[in-house]
Symmetry: C2
């Protein structure tokens, strides 16, 4: 049994856990499946080799330390599972397990009690091991290099979509597999909408250019935002907003270390922006955990009272979205360490005029 | 209460149905939401206006005939729902409802019994009304036009990915919103893998070029496959395979009408290919239902014994995947009518040399 599975079981209240999320399974046994509408499950319990329930349609070599239980489309899933799950157990099921699987399992009384077993996996995934840290560093390094290229794509009258459509090739040429999320490219007033998606808006002299992008490298995600000025520097109000967001980002990063509460990191950044008079324009949490998914369990928000642990990786992404003046966000990823944090992005925070 | 909702309730065994799939909700009330990890639900029952449980983060105008129940991130979901669901009812829940919602609902005893309530929705969706047929026709018409352009993109040494990367812009220029699924472009031997994804394989003189593509138009999906020959016609064996696949497609289309069984449509095509000696190389079902999703409930396969109904729309996509000779698939969408079917694709089935 590998360390990751052992850590999940140590954190769990369930006797057995049936994990169905393909990315959680990838994390635990390093095999990626896309089961579509078919069932996929990894059963783990103490003192038993993990069992992978796998449809024969998805060919798979042997997996070190894992028993594969083959299923096919004509099998009755609950019959297969009942040979392996103790009916007296408390069974943790994945939070994303769908009703079309869960209801028949309950009907067949596969376990004494069914509980949400995902938290043990999520909490384990929130602490990255050395191998994962290396991949996260590399993914963000590519993202830094990509940002330096992306900013050169702008020109008069190019649309947000036209910029966005060029990014994938650039990421691939730098060694990434693809996007970690759909890129956000926002010109001018669109930057004041934190969830803006690239559209046909054309770039004009003096626009703000907000670029929020990320790639995956060997499955691990990067995520970074920079806000540029097109051909003309900021006016006074814009400069004030930019510098507040920058200070919020940098003060929060300086505050991070093992043992501080995530809600207090959020507060550190939020206080900077509120004290500057823009509190109501910072309308989202400061950050989110990230790894093999761009949004993983764990928030940097007022609602998340847990303390940071060494190996947590999350985003620090304060923003001010003032429709009258500008939208601005500056985002980096950080790894929590014993006495601070390692910032994964090195692209500068300085005000930069592009084009 | 609109006709679609009424039809779902007429087909249902549950007293109340709580639908959580955003596309099913879109189908029923014509509003599209992307709730991400947040709960979204539409509660329907006889003699009650449908109720939409909607997080306040997703702003929404009034919806004709629907009551909106606002929820926010600090609400306890089961408390909100318990005001609206009869605890003595049999509650149909969506097949995709996740355990993190279903387990607390069961714990709170929101209903006497929980059953999979999706089939009533799925069966209703399987019969397209006039409005839907019009959109499906238009989506496939764009796909026909697109295919005529896509085939011109090929040249010596271009890679599958390089072709695939150009398709989205072409679809958009023709009025589509985007892909209905990731396009399959397969050169040479790759065409013999029915699930091949575009890679760096480069096109060579004499290659087969398989193009399996679809777009969405106002949310409705198209899906078509053609297999071309690059610069050089088929050899004898290839010609035999191509003509078998074509005959399988056309015989199946001629067989379709209201009342015939879907498994028998599959058999019609499969017999052609088996009689030609290539049965073991036709390794998938003949087709799938399609509408606002590219794969909807309903199969054209030996396992699906139901009879066709007027208004069903599905693919007819026989294929032969012989790694020694060629991979070939010819796919159209059809609408079932009383006395036959309407084929939505008009791009010819003839052997065509391109490049």
């Amino acid at each position: 049994m590998n360390t990751r599975i052992k850590n999940v079981l140590d954190r769990s209240e369930a006797d057995e856990i049936l994990i169905s999320d393909p990315l959680a399974i990838y994390y635990l046994i390093n095999r990626k499946f896309s089961p579509g509408e078919r069932f996929l499950g990894l059963l783990i319990k103490k003192d038993m080799r993990p069992k992978l329930f796998l449809n024969i349609l998805f060919p798979c070599e042997e997996i070190d330390g894992v028993d594969i239980v083959s299923i096919n489309d004509t099998d009755i899933l609950t019959d297969v599972l009942s040979d392996h799950i103790d009916p007296d157990s408390i069974l943790g099921v994945d939070k994303t397990l769908q009703a079309r699987f869960l209801l028949p399992m309950q009907e067949a009384k596969l376990a004494r009690k069914f509980i949400n077993g995902s938290l043990a996996v999520d909490k384990t995934r929130a602490i990255k091991d050395e191998e994962e840290k290396q991949l996260m560093r590399k993914s963000s390094k590519i993202n830094d290099e990509a940002m330096a290229i992306f900013k050169t794509l702008v020109r008069d009258d190019i649309s947000e979509k036209q910029v966005a459509d060029q990014l994938l090739d650039i990421y691939r040429s730098l060694g990434a597999e693809g996007f970690s999320f759909e890129p956000i490219i926002a010109f001018g007033k669109n930057a004041a909408d934190p969830h803006h998606m690239p559209d046909d808006t054309k770039l004009k002299y003096g626009d703000v250019v907000l670029i929020d992008v990320g790639c995956t490298y060997k499955g691990y995600c990067s995520d970074m935002t920079r806000t540029f000025f097109y051909k003309k520097g900021p006016n006074k109000d814009q400069e004030k907003i930019y510098n507040l967001v920058r200070k919020a980002n940098e003060d929060a990063q300086r505050y991070v270390k093992e043992g501080v509460r995530l809600c207090d990191i959020d507060k550190t950044a939020r206080d900077v922006i509120s004290d500057g008079g823009y509190g109501r324009y910072f309308s989202h949490r400061l950050g989110h955990f990230i790894g093999i998914e761009d949004h993983e369990y764990g928030d940097v928000s007022s609602a998340f009272k847990y303390k940071c642990e060494t190996g947590n990786i999350f985003s620090i992404e304060p923003g001010i979205y003032d429709p009258e003046t500008m939208g601005c966000r500056i985002e980096d990823l950080v790894i929590v360490t014993e006495d601070g944090c390692e910032v994964l992005n090195s692209y500068p925070h300085d005000i930069e005029i592009i084009g």
